[in-house]
Subunit: 346 residues, 2 copies
C-alpha cells in the first residue's frame, strides 16, 4: 500500500513521524509492505513553493491509497487577509480527494476524566461518532468582497447531503443504531433541504432511530446529555464548531483522530489538533491523535481491521498506565509516548 504523509507545520512533523513509526511496526509485525512518500502542504509549502498545496503534493495524494496529515498553519502565515494561506491547502486537498465525510469519534478515556471540564458523571458512556460534511457549504460556496460588504454563500445539493447522510446511517448500523441530524431548519433554507433529505433517506433505514436537533440546542445538549448520542451528522460549518466543542470534553485535543472519506477507499487522516506553534519543535506534542488517525487509516483505507485494533489497544494501555504527555498531565515527550505504544503493540 502507498501512503503519502503531509507533515505540514508546527507539531505536524513530530506527531506524523510518531504515527509513521507505529505504521512501520504494524507492517513488520503483520507482514505488510507500506511505501511512504512525504510531501509538502501548508505554511512550509508556501515558503518552499509559494503554494499551500503544490501540484506534486496533490498528484501524490491522488495516486496514493491513503494520506496522513499532521497540521497546517502558524503565526508566520496567520494573516487572514493574505492572498495565500496554509488552510487553503487543506481545503483544496479535501475537495480534490472528494472526501466528503469527516469522521470524528469521541470517547472519554476513564483514566483521563479528571482532565475534562465536564463533571465525571456526565462523561460516563460517552461514545459519539461525528460525521461532518466536509466538501460543501459555506467553506466552498461563492464569496464576494467589496470595500463595504462581503458575502459567503452556503450551498448544498440533494446529492451532497444524501451521500454523507447515507454514510452516517451505514455507520450507525455498526454501532447503536441512532442518528442525530443537526441543522438550523427554523432559519436556513439549506437546513430545510438537509432535513427533508435526511427524512427521505431515513425511510431506507427503518432499523435506525433518527432524531433532529437544531444546532443551538445541540451545542447545549452535548454538554448536558453527551451520552445520549451515537452518530451525529451535520453540515460542514456546524460540524466544525460542534466537533471542537465535543473535543473539549475529552480533556485534550491531542488525543483525537479523524478520518475523511469519499466514495472509494482512499482517505485523508489527521489528528484534530492544530499546529500548536507554542510547543512546536520541543518534542512534547502528544502523538496519540496522529497514531489513532493511523489506526483509522488501516481500518478505512486498507481494510486492516485487526491491525487497527492492535494500535487502538496499545494506545488504550498507554493511556491507562502511562507514560502521559504534558497535555494530559504527565511529563513524557513525544518519543517516549511513541515508544510505549510501539512496545504495547501485540
Amino acid at each position: 500500500a502507498r501512503i503519502v504523509t503531509l507533515p505540514g507545520d508546527g507539531v505536524g512533523p513530530e506527531v506524523t513521524a510518531a504515527a509513521v513509526a507505529v505504521l512501520k511496526t504494524v507492517a513488520a509485525r503483520y507482514e505488510h509492505v507500506f511505501a511512504f512518500e512525504e510531501q509538502l502542504i501548508g505554511g512550509i509549502a508556501i515558503d518552499a513553493t509559494g503554494e499551500p498545496l503544490p501540484a506534486a503534493s496533490l498528484a501524490a495524494c491522488q495516486s496514493a491509497d491513503a494520506v496522513l496529515l499532521g497540521a497546517v498553519g502558524g503565526p508566520k502565515w496567520s494573516d487572514p487577509n493574505a492572498p495565500v494561506r496554509p488552510e487553503q491547502g487543506l481545503l483544496a486537498l479535501r475537495a480534490a480527494l472528494g472526501v466528503y465525510a469527516n469522521l470524528r469519534p469521541l470517547q472519554v478515556h476513564p483514566a483521563l476524566a479528571n482532565l475534562s471540564p465536564l463533571k465525571n458523571d456526565k462523561l460516563k458512556h460517552v461514545d459519539v461518532l461525528f460525521v461532518r460534511e466536509l466538501t460543501g457549504g459555506a467553506y466552498f460556496g461563492a464569496k464576494t468582497r467589496s470595500a463595504d460588504a462581503a458575502t459567503d454563500e452556503c450551498r448544498y445539493t440533494v446529492a451532497e447531503i444524501e451521500r454523507v447522510v447515507r454514510r452516517a446511517f451505514d455507520l450507525a448500523r455498526d454501532r447503536r443504531r441512532h442518528v442525530t441530524s443537526v441543522d438550523k431548519a427554523n432559519v436556513l433554507e439549506t437546513s430545510r433541504l438537509w432535513r427533508s433529505t435526511v427524512q427521505r433517506i431515513a425511510a431506507d433505514y427503518p432499523d435506525v432511530k433518527l432524531e433532529h436537533q437544531l444546532v443551538d440546542s445541540m451545542a447545549m445538549l452535548l454538554l448536558t446529555q453527551p451520552n445520549r448520542y451515537d452518530v451525529v451528522v451535520t453540515e460542514n460549518l456546524f460540524g466544525d464548531i460542534l466537533t471542537d466543542e465535543a473535543a473539549a470534553l475529552a480533556g485534550s485535543l491531542g488525543l483525537l483522530p479523524s478520518a475523511s472519506l469519499g466514495d472509494g477507499r482512499r482517505g485523508l487522516y489527521e489528528p484534530i489538533h492544530g499546529s500548536a506553534p507554542d510547543i512546536a519543535g520541543l518534542g512534547v506534542a502528544n502523538p496519540v491523535g496522529a497514531i489513532l488517525s493511523a489506526a483509522l487509516l488501516l481500518r478505512h483505507s486498507l481494510g486492516l481491521e485487526a491491525e487497527a485494533v492492535a494500535i487502538e489497544s496499545a494506545v488504550e494501555q498507554v493511556l491507562r498506565h502511562g507514560p502521559h504527555s504534558r497535555d494530559i498531565g504527565g511529563s513524557a515527550g513525544t518519543d517516549e509516548v511513541r515508544d510505549a505504544v510501539l512496545a504495547a503493540i501485540e
Copy 2:
C-alpha cells in the same frame, strides 16, 4: 412608559405574567407609571390571524418604549417546511425594531454550581457578556431553493459590523475592558471583513484589550477557560450557537435573560429559553429568565438603574435561599418563585 408584552407560545404567557407582576411592584415602589399592552406573536398569532407577527403587534411594538417577549414556537407549528412559522414573527420583529445588538449576560450563581455540567472549579468567576449581532448574516440573507439544491447567503456590510462591535467595546468599558471577537476568518470572507473592521474600531479603544478567536476554538475555550472572557462579540449564527452552549454552563436555561438593542432606547427583552411545550400550562416554568429580562428592560430602555438592581438583588436572594423551581432542583411553581421575588424587592 409604554411596555408592550408579547407572551407568545408555550410557557411564554406564564413567565411573562410573572415578569409583569414584578414590573408592577417596582412601579408602585418607585412611583413610576408603566402602561402595559398585550399583543400576539408566534404560533398563537398564526392561529388567530394567519400571521406570526400581525400588523397590530408590530405597530404597537414600534411605538412602545420597550417590548417584553415570552417565547415562540411549539410542536403544533414545528414543520420547518410550512409556509408560515412562529420564528418568522420573531425574526421580523427583530429586523423591524432594528435591534442589532443582542446582549446575553452569563453568570453562574454559586448556589447553583452543582447543576452545571461543568466542574465547579471551572465555573469560578465566570462573568461573560455575549454581544450577538442580531439583524444580519445568514438569518436575513437571500435564500434559494430548487428541487435539487438550496442556498443561504451570509452578508455583512461594514456598517452592520461596526455598530455592533462599537456597542461591544462601549460595554467593555463598564466591565473588565476585554473584548473577544469571534469569527471564522481562515475560511469565510464575511469573517475577514468582520475581523478587519474590528481591528480598525479597536484603535478607537486603546484602553480595551482585544482578542480574536476562531469560532471552533471558541466553542472549546468556553468550556476549558470560561472565566477568561469578559465581552464576546460575534455575528448572528455563531452567536446563536455559542450563547446556547454557554447557557448550558449556568445549569438551567430558565435563569438567563437577554436584551436586544438598536440605536435608540427601544429594546426587545426575552428570556433565552424557548416555549418548553412539555411543561406549558403546568405553572412550573422558571420565571427568573423573564424577570431578569424585565430588569434589563428597566436598565437599557427606561434608564432606571436602581430599579433594575432592585430586581436583580431580589432574584439573587431567591436563588440563594429558595424557593427554587423544578429546573434548578426545587419544587416551587412559577407563582411561588414570583411571589418570593416580589417579597424580596426592597
